[in-house]
């Protein structure tokens, strides 16, 4: 009879717990718990929205948003959605470091991805490694792989000059000849690229006839061209970027350099070719991390391009833009695999990734977190273009291979 006197008579114990649970869930306290579990994953994204690389930076943002959208549609991390916090680093290391610090301190971001300059990424990396926040850099640099700048929190999704110059050199030296003249922008990017070409050139016994340095922002190369032509090289290697590159190509073409000399360049950008025009770049051979035309051969490139076209009314992603996609997507996938956004758990998950998201197989090398990936050799064309975006032919692929990277010992990492 005691059963009848109990207040809970007739009520099933399980049912009670369920009801109580609902009541608790309805209270403000429970909502807080639920929120904490489903807090959005914030990814800070400092890129130079203003300044000479503004257009490229916008493309990085667009491509990164593709990765965010895909992640969220697939259900996120157990329901946790991702969000991109875009900031302008103004192509300035100080600005980049400040934005990174604000993103970490004020916005409490989980990860940082971004940059479009070697100097800015090193500044951002300095901040993130002190704060123990994972940073995935999407801009070229050799220094970021080296032990002095590296930290376990540092990842490098972009190519580095050693890989890029090496791939272009291995393609060009046996094909066009051994006598080389370098025309190089006078700063770190130029030096790293020349070093990469020379390392690759050793196997082919290349002969460097001259290494001519020009200041950044040169608008007239006419005074350098007569000497280059009188040296009669097989290859003129133009190592500069953006506007400098467009002007150098244009003026070399006007001086008739291409009649007897093959022009190569380590990084041949889609946007530079579009801005420089078909005439100036015609026949120039260079390297790239990505070109949308890969979609004929690489299924993941097709999927990525299609998604990008759908989101941005038919536009195609650029090379640096695509790295924005890869940089964000690898972190989100690693977080998903780890089941957490905790840096200490995401790092091993990143190291374990074997991924093919947009350009064929890739993985992060353990010692320096450099993404081991293909380098594509492309040649600019002025004829047989199917549409305005069809500007390059992919003439060769330098497959992913750790042998093409500087060794871990060379970079100062202990085995």
């Amino acid at each position: 009879m005691t059963d009848i006197t109990t207040p809970f008579a007739g009520i099933d114990r399980r049912k009670f717990l369920g009801t109580a649970g609902l009541a608790v869930a309805a209270s403000p306290f429970a909502i807080n718990i639920a929120r904490a579990q489903e807090a959005t994953i914030k990814i800070g994204f400092p890129v130079p929205l203003t300044g000479p690389y503004g257009t490229e930076a916008q493309n990085q943002v667009r491509a990164a948003q593709v990765a965010i959208a895909e992640f969220n549609e697939a259900g996120g991390l157990n329901g946790r959605q991702a969000e991109l916090l875009v900031r302008d680093d103004k192509l300035n290391p100080g600005e980049g470091a400040t934005r990174a610090l604000e993103l970490i301190e004020n916005d409490k971001v989980n990860f940082i991805v971004g940059s479009l300059s070697a100097a800015v990424q090193l500044a951002v990396n300095n901040v993130t490694k002190q704060r123990k926040v994972i940073y995935n850099s999407i801009s070229q640099s050799d220094a970021i792989n080296e032990a002095a700048d590296f930290s376990p929190y540092t990842f490098h999704e972009a190519l580095n000059p050693h890989m890029t110059a090496g791939a272009v050199g291995r393609y060009a030296f046996p094909k066009y000849g051994k006598k080389v003249v370098f025309l190089t922008a006078d700063y770190a990017y130029g030096y790293e690229m020349v070093r990469g070409f020379q390392a690759a050139g050793k196997a082919f016994n290349i002969e460097v006839l001259a290494d001519i340095r020009h200041p950044l922002g040169t608008t007239d190369f006419s005074t350098l061209l007569p000497r280059i032509m009188s040296l009669k090289p097989d290859i003129l290697c133009i190592i500069n970027f953006g506007r400098d590159q467009q002007i150098a190509m244009k003026q070399a073409t006007d001086f008739g350099v291409k009649k007897s000399i093959q022009i190569i360049t380590p990084i041949l950008l889609y946007s530079a070719r579009v801005a420089g025009g078909p005439q100036a770049f015609d026949g120039v051979v260079g390297g790239t991390s990505y070109y949308w035309g890969l979609e004929d051969k690489v299924p993941t490139a097709k999927a990525f391009n299609d998604r990008f076209r759908k989101m941005y009314s038919g536009a195609v992603p650029t090379d640096y833009g695509a790295m924005g996609y890869a940089g964000v997507r690898t972190l989100l996938m690693a977080a998903k695999n780890a089941g957490s956004t905790d840096a200490e758990k995401v790092i091993p998950a990143m190291e374990a990734l074997k991924y093919d998201y947009y350009k064929g197989p890739e993985y992060y090398r353990k010692c320096d977190h450099q993404a081991v990936q293909s380098v594509f050799i492309i040649q600019s064309k002025s004829k047989d273009m199917k549409n305005a975006d069809d500007v390059f032919d992919v003439v060769a692929t330098d497959a992913p291979n750790e042998a093409n990277l500087r060794s871990c010992e060379e970079l100062g990492h202990k085995a």
Partner: protein, 294 residues
């Protein structure tokens, strides 16, 4: 140094003269405006850039380069007239730094407007079909288009010289530069003379921009570096002296070219080293009148 021959040095000098021709074109407008109006026009680089963009617009609307050579100086020169009338004129007689600051600000506004209308990336400008390729000039191959620039500069200079030295209007302009008050007393509307000179200077700057576009493309910032070079040329030649601007422009071109042959890294600095040297020996420049700035 390997491969150094007389032909190469001669070709290098010739390249320097071609480069100098563009400096001369920009400096001449700057010098004209300063010599006649004592206005240091910091917007000159922006007018140079506008020339390239107006030319681009002409090309986009089905015109060709030759049509642009006519349209660009008219449009940008007309805009220059408006700038003088509305912005610069109220500042006459207020000291040299007033119009300097005004035009400095104006250049920012113009560059920003072009960025808004045309975008920040810049556009390629093709060399006109007739002038493509390189031709043998006896000492080596040289781009046809650069030969054209040298010839066009010579034509513009001769026309300008004829206008200033051999026409009635030129006489009034020269007299107005020397003593505006007396000219005013003689019944000449000096304000109109100044208006015309400012417009003319801007038109020549625009023409220089249009002609530079096939060499380096058109972008909003293209006026910046070349304005600095044009100022050096003006200072070396003597502020306000047309003859000085021509000689100094060609000299600067040749110095840059020869230094590039041996020490390319020093080429940019050499321009300013040359200026420092000239100023030490001759503070007013080659043909400058002392005390014009005070």
């Amino acid at each position: 140094m390997a491969g150094l021959s007389y032909d190469l040095i001669a070709l290098q000098l010739f390249t320097g003269l071609a480069l100098g021709a563009i400096y001369v074109l920009l400096a001449i407008g700057l010098s004209l405006i300063f010599g006649m109006l004592t206005v240091v026009n910091f917007a000159h680089g922006a007018f140079f850039m506008l020339g390239a963009y107006v030319g681009l617009t002409v090309l986009d609307h089905g015109g060709n380069f030759w049509l642009a050579l006519v349209v660009v100086p008219l449009v940008v020169g007309g805009f220059g007239l408006a700038v003088e009338r509305v912005l610069v004129r109220p500042l006459y007689g207020r000291g040299i730094d007033y119009p300097l600051l005004l035009t400095f600000g104006l250049s920012y506004v113009l560059v920003e407007l072009v960025r808004i209308v045309f975008g920040t990336t810049g556009y390629p400008v093709d060399t006109p079909d007739l002038l493509q390729g390189a031709t043998d000039i006896g000492i080596g191959y040289f781009p046809l288009y650069r030969l054209f620039i040298m010839a066009a500069t010579a034509v513009i200079l001769i026309a300008l010289w004829y206008f200033l030295e051999r026409t009635r209007y030129g006489l009034i302009i020269r007299a107005g530069a020397r003593d505006p008050q007396i000219v005013q007393v003689l019944g000449v509307n000096v304000a109109r003379v100044w208006l015309l000179v400012f417009g003319l200077g801007c038109a020549i700057a625009a023409l220089a921009g249009l002609m530079a576009a096939p060499l380096q493309g058109a972008n909003p910032e293209m006026g910046g570096p070349i304005l600095a070079e044009a100022f050096v040329v003006t200072v070396v030649g003597g502020m306000g002296s047309l003859m000085g601007a021509v000689l100094a422009g060609l000299l600067v071109g040749c110095v840059v070219s020869l230094i590039s042959l041996f020490e390319p890294e020093m080429a940019k600095v050499s321009i300013f080293a040359l200026m420092a040297l000239v100023l030490l020996i001759r503070p007013q420049g080659f043909f400058g009148r002392a005390g014009l700035m005070s």
